[in-house]
Every structure is written in structure tokens, then in C-alpha cells.
């Protein structure tokens, strides 16, 4: 598949939505279903695949073990690579290499520009095909029945949460909401592969990670309504969850600011010698921010154990990825900063799980960052303030919502293993729905945080100027009680 025709199709948006075009076949199982034997990480193609490419010949029982073993040897492999590229004095002529700050570099009399894109796009790691069948030659980290069922249940819960909360906003009961529809596999698949000690620095489309860690439905709803039980004390807009107990940093609206912060958190973990890493999520749009570039660069230079997970969902509000960057997605940027990177089918929960699981081991054992680009699709609107049908066709949205649904795909795999059936399904969905309704009722009736919460926590203790400002405000409220909301205690 020539790269130029691919670019042509992606740039012409009208063609994308034409189902008969073969572009989306790149994602389906019929085309190159696995990585070629020349791994994208290798500088020179090797006869034997190395690094993290697929291994065709191993049986499933040894997969997990092989993963670890192969990964243990990356340092040796890396050293070998160094030797191959290192032009030593043993070479025929020492004139072949020149010394510069940064190391020795071979020179060539051929003036050759590196093309802006390689011939082939970086292939995408996937385990399940569109029907939830594990593909014939596959390499993934095994999961138990309990894990699979929890993963699936949480994906369904996230889906249900999203649809109900979106409606609640439409009914005017909360002011704002952001769904993660279509990205359930990225959320839950990645969360499941991490430990509770790993520090999460989210963007805002990853509530599934918090859900996995045990944040209750009531806690989610309390934050949306900004009532007195909200951990954030009603100070932030909806979906800006945060819980230090769950190692989930409070969501902050500006894009990509969490990336350098992740490096700082990883730095702190490194100082403490903890066996944990920092994990940060961001979208395709974030990769344009300066913080993305500096964050990756810093992580590489400082050997920080960070996992950078990019949810490339195709859209940054109304900006499609073709207008966001010209590179082959986000994964190719990893090497530019000296970072191990992988492209994953973000709608394949098992692939996401495996990739994050392995990335975590790399990050912690080798104290280095890893970049994961999870290709997915933003099924919902950017937020409740957006109507995406204004800039993309409805049938494109429908296609990704139905045929490429990550939850259904994983469901088929779980069912095929005999771990889930229709009665589990209906029981789960109705239970979650009921719990959410109850939680909403409780949250809606609850009081809002008191007036004093407007002034405390700005600093560790209330300073005199804020004390005075609070006093002034209380006097105003006393003078005009009819203008003051009834559900905010004084």
C-alpha cells in the first residue's frame, strides 16, 4: 500500500466515510495482521525479529514468559546495536567516521534527504480481530477470567455512565459533561495493566481509569453535581475528577500540562526507589502543544519511568488529525526523542492491556519512558458544548459506534471463552443503571459545599486578606438573602 495514496485519502475527508474504500481495511484483520519481521524499533532490519515484534512460532502457554525473557535481553540487544553502529578503529579506514559533540557519526558522500515519511506506516499491534476472535498468530499477555470479567464489566459501566450522564446534562441537571464513548478499551485496558501504586496524570477523557481503581459511582456523580461530598469541594467543573487516594491527579483543563508533570512525578518515584511508574494520557491534539515535546524530551534525557499514552481518536474538537500534524501519527515522534514507542489498536482491549503491561515493566525496570499510541475513534462529541455532526458525517460516527465498538468486540471474546452470557449482561446493565439513578438522586438532593469552601484551600491556612474578603461577602449575603442560593450553606 503506497504511502502516498494513503495520505491522499486521509487528506480528502469526503472519501474517508465511503465504506467501500479500502483505507479502513488497513485496520481489519485481512490485511497485514501482524508486524512484519523487521521491527519498527530496529535501525537496521535484522534477520531475526528482536525488540517487541510478534513472534509467530510460540505457543500461547509460553507467551507471557517469552515476553519477559525477551524484554530482559533488550539491554544486551541495545548494546549489540550500539556496537554495530559504533564505528570502531577495527573498521577498514578510520576516515569513515567523524567526531562531533553527541558522538561519532559515519559520513557519506551521497546527499540523501530523509523522506518525510517512511514507505509504510508504522503497523498497529492488535490481538483480537473485529469479531473478537484472537488472531491466528498472536502474542499477548494472558489474563484470568476474573480480570477479563472485571474489564468487561467496567467497560460496560463506563459506557452506561457516559450515556446517562450525557442525558442528565441535556436535561439541565448538570452543567457540562464529556463522554469517553468509543475509548472504553483504552481506558479500561490500560488501567487493568497498571498497579495501584502507579501515578495517573489524566487529560480528561479517562474516567475509566479512576473507575477501575475503585472510585464509586456515587463519587463520580458527586463531583458532577459539585455537592458537599465532592472530593474537589465543588470547585471544578464536571469531569475534573481527582483522588489522591487512588493516585489519580486532579484533572486540569489546559491541554498537555500534565506531560511535564508526569516527568516530575516519575522523578519523585525514582528518588524514592519505588517500583512504580507515572502514566499520563493525552489526545492527538495535545501532541501539538509545546509541553508534549518538552515532556517527552525531558523524560528521555532524565531516564524517567513514564508511560505516555496517546489516545489518537482522530479529532481535536473539530480538527481532524490531518490538520493536526503531518507525521505518521504520534508513534514516530517517540524515536525523535529517543523513546521506545508502539502503535496499538486502541479498540482492542487485549492489545492495549498487553502493550501497557509490557511498557510498565520496561519503564520500571529500565527506568526509561515509553510512548504508546492507541489508535481509536471519538464516538461522542467533544463535550456537551459540541455538536460534532457539524463537522463530520453522521454515518462515520455510526460506523465507529456500531461496527467498530470496542466493548462489543471484547464481549465476544469473553463470551467465547465461556466467561460471560446474556443473563450476566442484562443483570449487569440493569444493576449499573439502577445504581447510577440512585446515585444521581442522592447527589442532586445533597447540599452544595458551604461558603467557606470558596476561600479555604487557596493556601494551607486562610490568610488575612481572604478572611477579610469572606467577611465582606458574608455581609453582602446578609443584606440580600433573597439573591443567595438556598442550597449553599453559609
Amino acid at each position: 500500500m503506497a504511502s502516498s495514496s494513503w495520505l491522499l485519502m486521509r487528506r480528502s475527508r469526503a472519501l474517508i466515510h465511503h465504506k467501500n474504500f479500502s483505507f479502513y481495511s488497513l485496520f481489519s484483520s485481512s490485511s497485514s495482521s501482524s508486524c512484519s519481521s523487521s521491527s519498527p524499533f530496529m535501525k537496521k532490519p535484522q534477520a531475526e525479529s528482536a525488540g517487541y515484534s510478534n513472534d509467530y512460532s510460540s505457543s500461547s502457554a509460553h507467551h507471557h514468559f517469552r515476553f519477559l525473557r525477551r524484554f530482559e535481553s533488550t539491554k544486551a540487544e541495545a548494546a549489540q546495536l550500539e556496537l554495530q553502529h559504533d564505528v570502531t578503529d577495527d573498521d577498514d579506514d578510520n576516515h569513515r567516521a567523524i567526531d562531533f559533540p553527541g558522538g561519532k557519526v559515519a559520513f557519506t558522500s551521497e546527499m540523501r534527504f530523509i523522506s518525510e515519511a517512511s514507505q509504510k506506516r508504522v503497523p498497529c499491534y492488535r490481538v483480537l480481530d473485529d469479531n473478537g476472535m484472537a488472531m491466528e498468530y498472536r502474542n499477548y499477555v494472558q489474563i484470568s477470567k476474573e480480570m477479563a470479567v472485571k474489564m468487561y464489566s467496567d467497560m460496560v459501566t463506563l459506557q452506561t455512565m457516559d450515556s446517562i450522564f450525557y442525558e442528565v446534562q441535556r436535561q439541565g441537571r448538570i452543567s457540562f459533561y464529556v463522554t469517553s464513548m468509543g475509548e472504553e478499551a483504552v481506558n479500561i485496558g490500560s488501567a487493568a495493566a497498571l498497579s495501584s501504586d502507579d501515578i495517573i496524570l489524566p487529560q480528561y477523557r479517562e474516567p475509566g481509569v479512576l473507575l477501575w481503581r475503585g472510585f464509586t459511582l456515587q463519587q463520580f456523580v458527586d463531583q458532577l453535581f459539585g455537592n458537599t461530598s465532592d472530593l474537589g469541594k465543588g470547585r471544578q467543573m464536571p469531569i475534573h475528577y481527582g483522588s489522591n487516594k487512588h493516585n489519580y491527579f486532579t484533572v486540569s483543563s489546559p491541554i498537555a500540562t500534565q506531560l511535564p508533570q508526569a516527568v516530575g512525578a516519575a522523578y519523585s518515584l525514582k528518588m524514592d526507589g519505588k517500583s512504580a511508574c507515572a502514566v499520563t494520557y493525552f489526545g492527538d491534539g495535545s501532541t501539538s502543544e509545546g509541553d508534549f515535546h518538552a515532556g517527552l524530551n525531558f523524560a528521555a534525557v532524565m531516564d524517567a519511568p513514564v508511560i505516555f499514552i496517546c489516545r489518537n481518536n482522530g479529532w481535536a474538537i473539530s480538527t481532524p488529525v490531518e490538520e493536526q500534524f503531518r507525521s505518521d501519527g504520534v508513534v514516530v515522534k517517540g524515536q525523535a526523542y529517543g523513546i521506545w514507542s508502539i502503535r496499538v489498536d486502541g479498540n482492542d482491549a487485549l492489545a492495549v492491556y498487553s502493550a501497557v503491561h509490557t511498557a510498565r515493566e520496561i519503564a520500571i525496570k529500565e527506568k526509561r519512558p515509553v510512548l504508546i499510541e492507541a489508535l481509536t475513534y471519538r464516538v461522542g462529541h467533544h463535550s456537551t458544548s459540541d455538536d460534532s455532526t457539524k463537522y463530520r458525517p453522521i454515518d462515520e460516527i455510526e460506523y465507529w459506534k456500531m461496527e467498530r465498538n470496542p466493548v462489543n468486540r471484547f464481549k465476544r471474546w469473553v463470551e467465547r471463552n465461556g466467561w460471560w452470557n446474556d443473563s450476566n449482561e442484562s443483570e449487569l446493565r440493569s444493576r449499573v443503571r439502577k445504581q447510577l439513578m440512585q446515585a444521581i438522586q442522592v447527589a442532586e438532593k445533597a447540599q452544595k459545599p458551604p461558603l467557606e469552601d470558596m476561600f479555604n484551600d487557596v493556601y494551607d491556612r486562610l490568610p488575612s486578606n481572604l478572611e477579610e474578603q469572606e467577611k465582606v461577602l458574608r455581609e453582602i449575603v446578609k443584606k440580600h438573602p433573597e439573591d443567595y442560593p438556598s442550597d449553599v450553606p453559609l
Binding site: G232, N244, Q258, G264, Y267, M271, G290
Partner: protein, 307 residues
């Protein structure tokens, strides 16, 4: 750094180079590369990194090579540093210290002569202090490191060479207190950082002319120590503010507003504020000298105020 293993330093060239003004000299040798971290050149990012580290339990000190460069870190300082304790409901604290040399130097050019305190003073959630002597530099630095709030410590490019005898033992100054430099009766002169020295020079002249100025180094730029300032105003009834900030939107402007609001009845004359002009700092030495308030101007201002 010796007392608390969580304290660490990060910034450009702070490690083996010892910092652009040698503030961190010797620390990398003593505490290692990890605790004294050299970062690539991306102010927004290493400030963000400091914030992430602080939220995870460390106590970082972020150095801006020149305060002016921290304009690039404004997003992290304003949106995250100042806000995250509040928006997380108090769950995450950010005990970070952001420090660096600022102010007008000797022909450093406009971009390296910024007074960032004007721009930062509005950010809720942060504290700002300015040191001016070796004694208060040590005390304020210690207080800033131990504070649970994010603190921006403003040093001045021209004050690094000052020498003073200071106590060996540990002492910590208050981040919210002003310093009484010279008690007096006739007029209250409020100043901070390098202008303190211009004021004291002017004070000598004023004393010879028979005036008795009270000089207060406000030190705490956010919040103002209105107690000390207020007591002084009630005594002298006349206020002169001498600052290096520009006329518009500087510390002087806020201080004028605060004093007028709170102590209006005690003033016998309108507050006079001497500041730099609203121009980028010129490179030419003579011009640069006249963008900064000079002792002669201070003397004239006091004379007029006390008429």
C-alpha cells in the same frame, strides 16, 4: 537540602555549572545529580515537572535562569501551581519554590531585565517574597522551602555580590512580614529588593537635610504586610513607594490601592509612587540608569511630600 531529603533543585545549568549566578554552586557535588537536576531548556516543562514532583511528595526548588524566562512557565504557574490545591479540594499540595534573578541589571537588555512580580501578583494561590540582603535571603529561602504553599522568591541580579555577617545557626523568617530598615517620624518609604539600597542612600541625604524617613522593606509582595505598613502610616501620615516595577500594574500600583483603601483617613497627602517608566529597558547604560528610580528622585519626592 541537608535537613530534608525531599528537597531538590531543578533548572538549567544548576548542577555542575552551579547555576548562572552560582546560587547552587557545590550542591551537585554534595547531593548528586538526581537531587540537583539539570534540565533541558523548556521553562514551562521543568516548572510543570516541579509541580508534578511536588504533588507526589517532593519539595522542589525550580530555578529560572532569569525570572524573565519564567514568562514561558506562566501557564504552569498560573493554571496548575496556583490552582491545583484548590481545585483538587485540598487533596494535593504543591510545596514548590520558584526562584531566580530578576530586575534591571547592568545592560542586560530588555528581555533580561523584567520585573515578573507585576505579572504574577494576581495569581491566586501563590505567595511572593523578595529578598534584599544576605540575611533575609537565607531566612526567606528557608521559609519558602518549608511552606506548604507555592512560593515565588524574587532575587535581584545586582544583589548577589553583597556580603554580610549572618548567624550560623538556623533561622527562618516569616513569609508575610515586612522589615523595618530604619524607623522614623516624617514619612514612610516602602520599597523592596534593590530599591532598598537606593532608598537608604537617599535617606542619608535626607537625614542631612533634616528629615526623618521611616524605611520599610516590604519583602512580602503577596500578601502585603498591611499591619506593619499600617502602623507606620498611622505614625507618619505620608507614604512614598519606591519600586523597580513599571508604572502600570506593578507592585506599587497594588500597594497604593491597598493603602488608600485601608488607611485613607490617616493620610495627610496623596501617596506618591516612584516607579520605572512603561518602557522596555534600554541597553544603553545611561538610558538604563534613568529607567530605574535614582536616589536624587527619592530625595526630591520626600521633600515635596513633606511640604
Amino acid at each position: 537540602m541537608e535537613r530534608d531529603p525531599r528537597v531538590c533543585v531543578m533548572g538549567e545549568d544548576v548542577g555542575h555549572y552551579g547555576g548562572s549566578y552560582k546560587v547552587t554552586k557545590g550542591l551537585a557535588e554534595k547531593y548528586g545529580d538526581l537531587r540537583v537536576l539539570d534540565t533541558p531548556i523548556a521553562e514551562n516543562s521543568f516548572t510543570g515537572m516541579g509541580i508534578g514532583a511536588a504533588m507526589t511528595g517532593l519539595r522542589p526548588i525550580v530555578e529560572g535562569m532569569n525570572m524573565g524566562f519564567l514568562l514561558l512557565a506562566f501557564n504552569q504557574i498560573s493554571n496548575n501551581c496556583g490552582m491545583l490545591h484548590y481545585t483538587s479540594g485540598g487533596q494535593f499540595t504543591i510545596p514548590i519554590v520558584i526562584r531566580g534573578p530578576g530586575g534591571v541589571g547592568r545592560q542586560l537588555g530588555a528581555e533580561h531585565s523584567q520585573r515578573l512580580e507585576s505579572y504574577f501578583q494576581s495569581i491566586p494561590g501563590i505567595q511572593m517574597v523578595a529578598c534584599s540582603t544576605p540575611y533575609n535571603a537565607k531566612g526567606l529561602m528557608k521559609a519558602a522551602i518549608r511552606s506548604e504553599n507555592p512560593v515565588i522568591l524574587f532575587e535581584h541580579v545586582l544583589l548577589y555580590n553583597l556580603k554580610e555577617r549572618i548567624p550560623d545557626e538556623e533561622y527562618v523568617l516569616s513569609l508575610e512580614e515586612a522589615e523595618m530598615v530604619r524607623p522614623g517620624e516624617h514619612v514612610t518609604i516602602l520599597t523592596y529588593s534593590r530599591m532598598r539600597y537606593h532608598v537608604m542612600q537617599a535617606a542619608k541625604t535626607l537625614v542631612n537635610k533634616g528629615y526623618d524617613p521611616e524605611v520599610i522593606d516590604i519583602r512580602s509582595l503577596k500578601p502585603f504586610d498591611l499591619y506593619t505598613i499600617g502602623c507606620s502610616v498611622k505614625k507618619t501620615h505620608r507614604v512614598l513607594i519606591v519600586e523597580e516595577c513599571m508604572r502600570t500594574g506593578g507592585i506599587g500600583a497594588s500597594l497604593t490601592a491597598a493603602i488608600t483603601e485601608n488607611f485613607h483617613d490617616y493620610l495627610d497627602a496623596p501617596i506618591v509612587c516612584l516607579s520605572s517608566q512603561d518602557v522596555p529597558t534600554p541597553y544603553a547604560g545611561t538610558l538604563e540608569e534613568w529607567t530605574v528610580v535614582q536616589p536624587a528622585q527619592i530625595v526630591t519626592a520626600v521633600e515635596q511630600l513633606c511640604q
